[in-house]
């Protein structure tokens, strides 16, 4: 015999009330719960038509949004992660990589492509958050370094779209040194006078923020993205207080002078190409 008897109904949804939504046809906004047809969402650059929530998207979607006629050439696609430290936490690093590769169909957390954006030739490095939180290991560092070299050698403007939790712990100091490596390469790009646009999306934190993501000639953010060095949880634990509303948001960073402007994804392509046309014509 139990001590308590449930009087009210439990929190369950009766099967006849369940709304079945097949995968991939419809998408439910995590913020306003509006359900949008997938084709409409793609049309609207993966931004909720009702509340402007920016869905988290990956390199595939960004490339299609930015490149004319969705045409581009992928570069350095064959680079894959090693396991320099034989790292094992709750599972071996190599197994973690394999699992992520199988799950996402990606090789690692960043892809590079070149093509035209409203007629302007560009090279884009774009992160995939779905691959171990977009974490930066040797592969991301190397690909970014090469994309910087590519931009410098061909005098093509560079975009890096960041969406990352920061350094990849399983590569420890190797991943730390990618910060120095990418920043050093940017110093060379700087000397060559080729523009670099850093696009900050939700989230951009840790070692990515403390290196190339903050080094753009232009730091440009999507609305309401989380952007910071230390993660909000760490800061909250350190100061022992709740964080103010909007702390570390794109708007907060613009207010404090670290972001040039905020652009909705729906207007991104046109605004970026206008900016590039203002400042740069290939030598």
């Amino acid at each position: 015999m139990s001590w308590f008897k449930r009087v009210a109904d439990g929190i369950t949804t009766k099967s006849k009330e369940k709304k079945y939504v097949p995968d991939g046809l419809w998408e439910k906004c995590p913020r306003c719960k509006t359900i949008t047809q997938m084709s409409d969402l793609v049309e609207n650059k993966h931004v909720c038509p009702s509340c402007s929530y920016h869905y988290k998207i990956g390199s595939h979607e960004y490339f299609n949004i930015l490149f004319d006629e969705e045409k581009y050439k992928e570069l350095y696609a064959d680079i894959e992660s090693g396991d320099p430290l034989n790292f094992t936490d709750t599972k071996p690093y190599t197994a973690r990589i394999k699992d992520s590769q199988n799950k996402t169909g990606l090789k690692d957390a960043l892809r590079v492509a070149t093509g035209k954006m409203n007629g302007v030739k560009i090279v884009v490095s774009c992160m995939d958050f779905s691959f171990i939180g977009g974490s930066m290991g040797s592969v991301m560092g190397e690909k970014i370094a090469r994309s910087i070299d590519y931009a410098r050698e061909n005098h093509i403007p560079l975009l890096i779209i960041s969406k990352s939790g920061g350094a990849r712990m399983m590569e420890a100091a190797f991943s730390l040194m990618q910060m120095a490596k990418t920043s050093a390469k940017l110093a060379l790009l700087n000397q060559e006078g080729v523009p670099y646009l850093s696009i900050l999306t939700d989230p951009t934190t840790g070692g990515v923020t403390a290196s190339f993501a903050m080094l753009g000639d232009f730091n440009i953010a999507e609305p309401e993205a989380l952007i910071g060095f230390a993660g909000p949880r760490v800061i909250k634990e350190t100061i022992g207080k709740d964080l103010p509303k909007g702390f570390q948001s794109s708007e907060f960073l613009q207010e404090h002078g670290f972001v040039d402007f905020i652009v909705p994804r729906t207007e991104m392509k046109d605004k970026l190409s206008t900016l590039l046309k203002q400042i740069y014509s290939k030598k």
Partner: protein, 323 residues
């Protein structure tokens, strides 16, 4: 009174024994000199044995030893005419990073280092060696000053990380560190960096891009502290020793992985047993490294520095491993 770490127990016991013997000797009743000499020899043996076989976590503990020399201790020893220069010219003077010109055996250096505090009050004053953005900006200002006057730069790294706080974020911690990484890569003067204690993450690297990056014998350098690594990957602080092993953060590992350029030895048992000797070793090493670097033209320095960091990484391409 020395603070002994748990793995130093045998040393502690023997030192106590030794003191007792010496006391008896001093009272003058029995001649103990033979026994004392014997024990002293044994003490050295046992120390050698313990410190030769330290694991990652034990080295982390030594790097944080409360009596370990900090940046200013070394600076005053190796450059007695050191003049500290304050402030980033924007916001304030960050006490967690110190810097200024000083002469090391006739050669002026710009010396910059993280600074920790020795007691509670000092630790707070120094923010536990965790710099805010203005600390990194001060460091960069001083490095540019060194470049202007064509003086080599020596940085001493000893931080548990850059400060995670409201104000640090408001003033752009990420941007400040990032800027240093980029600017240090193209400094026209020789840059020597030495990890003298803790080398935690971007907070360490923020003054750590150099032509020669060295680690002292009982220090660590990685992307995260073993404690934080443990709490993220194992969801508990209890695996810090395991995390320390997994992170391969010791000088030997770092050197083996070609992520640093060399290791500077310390007095037996660690720098705190003999700070004067530790400073002397550091000074000698810095002079030697500078001698190698001063022959290079600014272009060569920058080229080689960028080349070195560009080669760091481990990945496969077309299934060929490159590390």
């Amino acid at each position: 009174m020395t603070n002994y770490l748990d793995f130093e127990k045998p040393v502690e016991e023997m030192v106590e024994q030794l003191e007792k013997l010496k006391e008896t000797q001093a009272k003058g009743k029995v001649d103990m000199s033979d026994a004392i000499a014997e024990l002293e020899k044994k003490l050295i043996e046992i120390k050698k044995d313990i410190y030769r076989n330290l694991n990652g976590w034990q080295k982390v503990q030594l790097s944080r030893h409360p009596e370990r020399p900090y940046s200013l201790d070394y600076i005053h020893q190796i450059a007695p005419d050191f003049i500290e220069l304050h402030g980033d010219r924007q916001v304030k003077d960050d006490k967690a990073i110190v810097g200024g010109f000083g002469t090391i055996d006739g050669q002026t250096f710009m010396i910059i280092g993280h600074q920790k505090g020795r007691n509670t009050k000092e630790r707070q004053y120094r923010n536990f060696g965790m710099p805010n953005p203005e600390g990194y900006r001060k460091a960069l200002r001083l490095m540019k000053l060194a470049e202007k006057f064509k003086k080599p730069i020596l940085t001493l790294i000893d931080t548990p990380g850059a400060s995670p706080g409201l104000e640090a974020e408001e003033r752009g911690q990420g941007e400040a560190i990032a800027k240093n990484l980029m600017e240090m890569a193209v400094l026209k003067v020789p840059v020597i960096c030495v990890v003298i204690g803790e080398g935690a993450s971007g907070g360490a690297l923020g003054i750590g891009v150099g032509d020669r990056v060295m680690m002292m014998q009982y220090t660590w350098y990685s992307v995260i502290s073993p404690e934080s690594c443990s709490s993220i990957l194992w969801r508990s602080w209890d695996f810090k020793a395991k995390a320390a092993e997994a992170l391969k953060l010791t000088p030997d590992d770092m050197y083996g992985n070609k992520l640093i350029d060399g290791i500077i030895s310390e007095p037996l048992g660690g720098a705190h047993y003999n700070p004067a000797e530790a400073s002397e070793i550091l000074k000698k090493e810095v002079k030697k490294l500078y001698k190698e670097l001063k022959e290079l033209s600014p272009e060569d320095l920058i080229h080689k520095r960028i080349e070195k960091f560009s080669n760091m990484g481990s990945y496969k391409e077309n299934s060929n491993l490159s590390a």
